[in-house]
Every structure is written in structure tokens, then in C-alpha cells.
Symmetry: C2
Subunit: 401 residues, 2 copies
């Protein structure tokens, strides 16, 4: 097989993360060292920028600028939620052919993998030689095949820190506190709230993942039990919880072009649960809800060092795999843990079809009953989120006067 | 005047902050060195704990435990929102007399200062010699007299970082983003969102403080103008914004014993503004709202170093003032800037009556039009919040193909 040579285009697609730019910079720094790659283009707002030939020159960015971008949250190239139509896929190849684009990298989640897969298939139809790689990123951690997704560790860290604060706040001013966590169909991020617990009575005391049918009667009974026992209750709940009939409790009715329902950017679920608790357990109860919202993916400075390193690495590896003689002409970069006590992951390539479209949920081994997570989950997630800030408590033994 | 000698009780009252425990620890470490003080009691949940004689022994906490508590957000002793009734104030003095409590310190905001003031007045009625000091803390920065309140700097830092993330997220996936910020009557915290701006087109593009009457028509026109110009718009809005007739836009109807309306812990205002924008500017617009909520005061690890140091200092100074020969028998610790280019504050004592009950709002010199803040505000707030994490952006010049 003759060695491919030409221009490269990279896009960042879907919801951003705290470390999505690490992957971009890793990819650029790897590409800068390859003779087979001529221009390194960044597509503004992903496939939308490809269709509009709206590219920026990633060769002319200074090393310092790239390093500053790497530690900045959210997609530096701009992102989009867009699944290209048949017509648009043909148009993409008009652009690719016109500009001799032979290397295509798409940093994103399962929808982005689907787009990369559709474009790879289109390339075969067009008989156009193209390397098409998907570089994983999600905060939801819902990609198939890989042990976990870059982006998840930092978001998990944010959620664990937010719940640490919620628990401390709830100890200060007792009542019932609900924190609504992102994660449409996968509970990994909601489950990460459990990393906030260190002492026996630390919150969150109840964790509701979307993998488990949400039963309102059981929820009320669980809250009541905890509140009666501790005089307070901290609850982490996924935005995607739904009833047995499949209806989502926090849905607003807005749907994107991949068919995803909008759940974030609204306080509806938190307010609904608040009023339900008050109605059924007492209007005078102090019940508060926070929807952690977009801060989970965009807040600067709350980054897991492991996550940042792995995000950088998957970007670099994607280029290395694309360039490797005898290597695959496409695929998605995945992570797997190496055996041993100390956490470590290695990368491998899986086919685009394996990660495109379908998502992964929390395995049953990570879920405990209908409102908790297992120690297996804690062992899984702790190294990804990194060690949390120190926390101190007073000895609150009551003085005998 | 004979030197007072006896036991000390300290309470933490009102909404917690990221550095309220610094003040507690500063106070305890200063008290540990004073012969005039016998026991150092911490009242669990402030005045509620005093009434119940629910005290913890702050002498028996280890140095390491105290230092760990100092860097932990929220009230380590537990807090309460409670204004003692006449009956309860008499009861407090039964407890004080019974236990020879001669030094009373109350860490809190204006409502807490009011409680301290009421108790000091009650002491005079009862002819009971008592030192009563208020140690300032609020995230709202709404205390009278003082240049600023400990607790504000760290909350301002959190808000500035949240808005930095919101702006980057909004650049990634353009649309209209609303962030609802705490601050019932004072816009200092909402205004701190402006610290997120570095480049000309950085958000927040519109800032709505509660000091300015909120006009829905002007709001819609302002959003429309920015959106048409930039293709996106980031808005910071105080939870306390209200119409010309005084009605608060985000109110839920719940009221505490100080007469404060509950505004936080609900997504109502964000959802209301979202639906208003969609109705008037187009249902298809991507509009999202986050209510920053309790994270603003409880999130661990986002602390301004200046704020932490000052919070510690006001605790120490309160004890030193209480012990000073010829010093006041009570008061509130306040901060004032010393002249010079480099930021520095010194402490002084003001009477309890000066900070009790009434709050301070943003001065006109800090407000620009009805949707912005002045550079005078930026100069005021920047040293309090500290320098923010570095942020990098790509050179997005479009490639000529």
C-alpha cells in the first residue's frame, strides 16, 4: 500500500469538555512532526466548518499559544451538534478532494464517531483514499469499547467537588438538597458524586442513575428514611431519570438533529422534585435543588491530571496510528487498563462502527439497589477523577456542662 | 474598668462561605493565647445551639484539625437562619449567666450582626457584663461600613471562573446563555462576572444587578442586539432582579424569620428568562440557563488567597479587640483599604448598630447603564477575587484556500 500524503483536517464536535483541547493540541503536536502531512487545518465548528471551507491554520499557532489552549476548557475550534445528511456527506468529499484532505480527525462522543463513520463509508463509495479517526471525548463516559472517555475524569472531579460542598452546606443548614447531574442515558457522572463521601454520614445519601427506573413513591420513602435518621439528606440525581413508561422527568421537549432530547440548561427537574418532596413530606421542609449544568464541562481549573494526560495522549496516538505503516485506515482510539495495583491505561484502536451511534450505560456491577453505587464503581472512578481537596471537620462531641 | 474574665462562645450564622471557617480558626487561635478566657465553646447551629446549651469544646481540637477545618468550606459548627425572639434573648442570658459566658462572637452577615446587636442590648438590660463582637462574612458583600466582606472574594472568584467557562462553552456551541448569580439585593457578586472578561468580545456581554430596575422589553432588545452582532450572547443576572413595581422575577414565595424571600435553590428565574427570550426572539434559538446556586458559597478548592487571609485575620482581630484594655465592649470588625497602588486592607471596629439589619448595595459609580459595570468596580473587585486561571485561544484567522 502506497503511503498516503496530503492535508489534515481536525474538528471538535458535540458538547465540550475541560480537556477536549488537550486532545486537539496532542494531535497537532504529533502532526507537526510528520512529513506526510502538509497543511494542518482546524475546521471551525466541526462539520459545519468543513462544509463552508472555514478552516484555520494550526501550523501557524505558536507553541505557547497551543499550550495555553490545551489547559483551556471547551472547544477552541468551536463545536457543533450536527449529523451530516447524505447530500452534505457528498459535499464534504467535494471539499476534501478539492483541498487534497487525506487525514480526517474528529474529536467527540458517539454522535461524532457516527459522523466519522459515515464519512469513512462515504470515502469508500467515492473511492477516495482517506484516513478517518475518531478521538474520544465525553463527560458522560458513555462510549462503547473504551474503559473510559477523556473528559469524564475532570467532569467527575467537578461533580465530586460540588457534592462535597453540597454536603458541607447541608450540614451547616440542614434540610433536603438535590443536585441534578448531567448524563442523559449513562449514570457514570451522577455516580461520581459518591467520590465525595469519606465519612459514614457524608452525602450524597441517595444516588439516582438513569439506568434504574425512577419510582417516585420509592424516592419519597427513601428521602423520608434518610431525613428521619440524619435530620438532613443530600441527593444526586441524573438529569435523565425516567419512569417505567420511559417518560423522562426533566425533559423540555427540545430535540437536536441526532434525536437527543434537551435536558440540560433548565432547572425543571430539580424544581419538580423539590415540589414533589414538599407536597408529600411537608411544605415547611427546607428543600433546595441545584442543577449543576454546563459548569460540569466548562469550569476552568478543575481538571484531573490523569484526564488531561490521557486526553493529550489519545490525540497524539490518533496521528501515530494514522501514519503507522500497515496500520488501520481509520478507527477510534480507546483506552484499556493494564493489570496491576497502580492505575495505568494503554491505548488501542477499535473500528469506528464499534463506537458510532450506540452508547454504553453503567454496568449492573456498578449499581447498588435503586439508589446507590458499589465499591467496584468507586475503584473504577477514583483514579480517573484524582484525589480531591483535603477536608477537615471539628470534633463535635457535646460538652457536658 | 476591671478586666473581664470567663468563658467564650462563638457561633457561625446565616449562609456559609468558602472561608467562614478561617474566621472561626483565627478566632480560636487568638483565644487560645488569652489567660482571661477559660473555656472556648462553639455553639452548634449558632443561637439555636446557645439556647439548647449545645456546645463543642474548641480547646480540645488539635492544631492539625483546626488547620484542616480552616480550608474547608461551610460552617464547621453548623449554622442557622434565626432571629431570636424577646423570650429567646432572655433565655440566652440565662445560659450565659449559668455558664459564665463573658465573650460572645458571632460570625455572619447583617442578620447575624442584628442578632449580636440585640444580644448586646439585652446584656445592658440584664446588667450583665458581656463582650459581643460580630465577625463579618457574606458572599453578597452587602454589609455596611466595611470596604468588603470576607467570603465575597472567593465567591466572586467562583462566579468569574463559572462565567469564563460559560463564555468558552458559548463560543463552542453558540446561542444565548443565562447564568443566574446569588445576591438578593446587592449586585456585587453578579458584577464579579465581569472579571471573566479579557478580550473585547468575551462574555458576559450583559450584566443585570438588582440595584437597577429590570425592564423586560429593554432586556429583550439588549439580547437581540448582542446576538445579532456576535451570533451569541452570555448574560449574568442577579437572582434578585425585580420590576419597577418591586416584584421579584425569581421569587418562590418562601420567607425566612428575618423576612428574606427564598430566591436560591430553584431554577425558576433562569427558566422564566429562557422562555421569555424564546417567545419574543424565536422558539428555535438555542437558549440555556444555569443557576449557579449553592456552589457559589460551598465549592471546595476555589478560594481567593486574599479572602482566606482576611477571613482569618478578622477572627483574630475580633478576639484582640475584645481583650484590648480600654477597647470597646463590642462591635463589628470592618476592613478599609490603605492608600497606595498595591492592594492592602487594615481592620477597624465599628458599632454593631452600624452593620445590623441594613444592607449595602452597589454604589452608582460601579454601575454602567442598566446592563454593565464600570472599570471602578473592576479595580475594586479584582484584588479580592485574585488572579484567575490562564486561558488560551487559537488564532482563528480563516485560511484562504
Amino acid at each position: 500500500m502506497k503511503k498516503l500524503r496530503g492535508n489534515l483536517v481536525v474538528g471538535q464536535s458535540g458538547g465540550p469538555t475541560a480537556v477536549i483541547n488537550q486532545s486537539l493540541v496532542g494531535l497537532v503536536e504529533a502532526a507537526l512532526g510528520r512529513d506526510e502531512i502538509d497543511n494542518i487545518y482546524g475546521a471551525r465548528h466541526a462539520v459545519k466548518g468543513i462544509l463552508a471551507e472555514d478552516f484555520v491554520d494550526l501550523r501557524r499557532q505558536s507553541r505557547e499559544a497551543l499550550e495555553a489552549v490545551a489547559i483551556t476548557p471547551c472547544a477552541a475550534l468551536g463545536s457543533v451538534r450536527k449529523k451530516p445528511t447524505d447530500e452534505e456527506r457528498r459535499k464534504v468529499f467535494d471539499v476534501f478532494k478539492k483541498n487534497n484532505i487525506r487525514f480526517f480527525f474528529y474529536i467527540g462522543g458517539n454522535d461524532s464517531a457516527e459522523t466519522a463513520h459515515l464519512l469513512a463509508e462515504q470515502g469508500k463509495l467515492e473511492n477516495y483514499e482517506l484516513c478517518a479517526f475518531h478521538v474520544p471525548k465525553t463527560i458522560d463516559n458513555d462510549l462503547q469499547v473504551t474503559d473510559h472517555c477523556p473528559g469524564y475524569g475532570s467532569a467527575a472531579r467537578f461533580v465530586a467537588m460540588a457534592l462535597t460542598g453540597s454536603d458541607l452546606d447541608n450540614r451547616s443548614l440542614p434540610g433536603i438538597k438535590i443536585d441534578v447531574v448531567m448524563g442523559r442515558k449513562a449514570g457514570f457522572l451522577t455516580a461520581a458524586s459518591a467520590l465525595a463521601r469519606r465519612r459514614e454520614d457524608d452525602g450524597p445519601h441517595l444516588i439516582y442513575c438513569p439506568e434504574v427506573i425512577f419510582n417516585e413513591d420509592r424516592f419519597i420513602a427513601d428521602v423520608d428514611t434518610i431525613y428521619k435518621k440524619l435530620g438532613r439528606c443530600v441527593i444526586a440525581v441524573s438529569e435523565g431519570i425516567h419512569r417505567a413508561d420511559g417518560t423522562e422527568i426533566g425533559a423540555t421537549g427540545e430535540v437536536d438533529s441526532h434525536g437527543n432530547v434537551q435536558l440540560s440548561g433548565s432547572g425543571a427537574l430539580g424544581d419538580y422534585l423539590t415540589s414533589m418532596i414538599k407536597k408529600r413530606l411537608g411544605e415547611k421542609l427546607r428543600v433546595r435543588a441545584d442543577t449543576l449544568g454546563y459548569l460540569q464541562r466548562s469550569f476552568p481549573g478543575v481538571v484531573s491530571a490523569t484526564d488531561a494526560e490521557e486526553a493529550r495522549r489519545v490525540g497524539r496516538v490518533a496521528v501515530a496510528e494514522a501514519m503507522r505503516e500497515g496500520g488501520p485506515s481509520g478507527g477510534s482510539i480507546a483506552l484499556r487498563r493494564t493489570p496491576g495495583v497502580v492505575y495505568n491505561c494503554e491505548t488501542f484502536v477499535t473500528e469506528l462502527a464499534n463506537v458510532a451511534k450506540n452508547t454504553r450505560s453503567m454496568p449492573p456491577a456498578f449499581l447498588e439497589g435503586d439508589n446507590g453505587v458499589t465499591s467496584a464503581f468507586i475503584d473504577y472512578a477514583r483514579p480517573l477523577a484524582g484525589s480531591l481537596p483535603a477536608k477537615g471537620m471539628l470534633d463535635l462531641t457535646r460538652v457536658k456542662l
